[in-house]
Amino acid sequence: MKSGWAHRLLLLPAALWLLVMLVLPLLVVFVFSFGERAPAGGYIPAFSFDNYLNLPARLTAFKNTLILAPLGTLAALLIAYPLAYYLAIKASAKIRTTLLVMIIVPFWTSILIRTYAWIYILGGRGIPQLLEWIGIEGVRLINTPYAVLIGIIYGYLPLMVFPIYVSLEKFDKRLLEASEDLGAPPLKTFRDVTLPLSIPGIATGCMLVFILLMGEFLIPALLGGGKVFFVGNALVDLFLQSRNWTYGSAVAAALVIIMLVTVSIYMKLIMRGAGQREDVSLI
């Protein structure tokens, strides 16, 4: 296989597929977002910014997303960090692989079924009923922002644990011993050695979770009961129910733009702080 043509041929199917099923469709969204709505919901060629100027009509969805996505990311980080620390530094090598696989597996199993489980748990016959037995009445969990937050943490925890684990696992453990030998109390060792060295992992984890959360639909749809509305829910409504493709395209484009902007600002801050980023395989 020396000839360049053979290699070009190998690339051809994948290249065509990415062009037709990814690049062109994304361009169509971009073009549609400047168009005008046809009576049946389709597209009339035009060049106007009306769709973008109308974005405030869906302000609540953007607001909810931009509040709950960072909040969910932060909560996932706070819960994931000690676990990643345990896995990388405290857990015995014998069980470590098993424990790691047990973190990855839920991430790859149906998020729909896993979210559905929480309808069961948070619904009227779940935790609220248990609370009634011990005398606490009138607690409502399902269809509240709290339920959505729990669902988010549950769904995205594995994605946060993994990059942090990788960065903690990689650094030289002798640094911890050195710090201890030099008389640093554990908390100071953590603050001055462990935490700074794990920042690339934290950055990667937060970025992955944040990006995926921005496009979330299922968790708010199932646990928020139509009361906690994300941009994803607005998009489903615009494309499948009210069939306003041009305006929907503008909403989708705005979502991607906000995502890109926040991520690049974030990356810049992190790069300045730590100098590098962690590349992590989630498989």
Binding site: L11, A14, P25, V28, L235, W245, I283
Partner: protein, 279 residues
């Protein structure tokens, strides 16, 4: 000690909800609160429900074809890419990165409006140029094929990443040795390269199947009038929580779990030294 307890609590948090679904799928009673003992009657109900079975068949077909296409084209691309350095490589990497990072919902929307628009132009053209002796011109519409195309796009990117990691970690001296011993390029590929990357290809196949089988959001936009299992489950949940959903959920989890564990075993194989068989 404290850390270990913390870890146990988190693992419980991760697995308890799944456990509850499995547990209540075997509950004879209708609700969580009336546990009437062990029964498989909800499984019987699901298996005799034609809508659920149709959805299952659609999901399995789509996932299988997706995984096949993604692992073949993805592996081809990963092999081809190792020879390229310049602009082509950068473009390809950017496309793969975008495919993986763009939210599924945006991929779903983009595919929907692009294909519906394209079909709007193609169908009249097809009808006008279709030879009469072939009968009626086929109508292009959203359905299984569009869903397979969309799933293949994403999972192919995934396979490229997995297989490429394996190629990078591969022992190149073996390929050179094979060439020095006058093996044809095809011979080298079948006897040296493929056996080395095969675990990664298989893992890519299994992960692609799992992704396609579990995907809801892309299918929601792209599947047209077809119902996949996740779409069926979603619309059932909308109508109310029933023990049947627990049974379907348990089955879906069992399928994903076994495929995932198989994929993990395949991927971990790379940690072991490669054994060259002498015959």
């Amino acid at each position: 000690m404290g850390m270990r307890i913390y870890a146990i609590v988190i693992y419980l948090f991760l697995y308890l909800p799944i456990g509850i679904i499995v547990l209540f799928s075997f509950n004879a009673g209708r609700h969580a609160s009336d546990f009437h003992g062990f029964s498989v009657k909800w499984y019987g109900k699901v298996l005799s429900n034609p809508f659920a079975m149709d959805a299952l068949a659609t999901s399995v077909t789509v996932a299988f074809v997706t995984a096949l296409l993604a692992s073949i084209f993805g592996t081809m691309a990963a092999l081809g890419l190792q020879q390229f350095k310049g602009r082509l490589r950068v473009l390809f990497d950017a496309a793969i990165y975008i495919a993986i990072m763009i939210p599924g919902i945006v991929i779903g929307i983009a595919t929907l409006i692009a294909l519906v628009t394209a079909f709007g132009y193609l169908n009249p053209a097809l009808a006008a140029t279709w030879p009469e002796w072939l009968g009626d011109a086929p109508q292009l519409k959203m359905g299984r094929l569009s869903l397979i195309a969309a799933h293949t796009m994403f999972t192919m990117a995934l396979v490229i990443v997995i297989v490429r990691a394996r190629i990078d970690g591969m022992d190149r001296t073996l390929i050179e040795a094979s060439a020095d011993l006058y093996a044809t390029p095809m011979g080298t590929f079948w006897q040296v390269t493929l056996p080395q990357i095969f675990p990664a290809v298989l893992a890519g196949f299994l992960l692609s199947f799992t992704f396609s089988f579990d995907d809801f959001i892309i299918a929601f936009f792209v599947a047209g009038s077809e119902t996949t299992l996740p779409i069926y489950v979603f619309s059932s949940i909308r109508r109310g929580v029933t023990p049947e959903i627990n049974a379907i959920g348990t089955m879906v989890l069992a399928v994903s779990l076994s495929l995932l564990i198989a994929a993990q075993i395949m991927l971990r194989r790379r940690d072991r030294p490669t054994r060259v068989e002498s015959q």
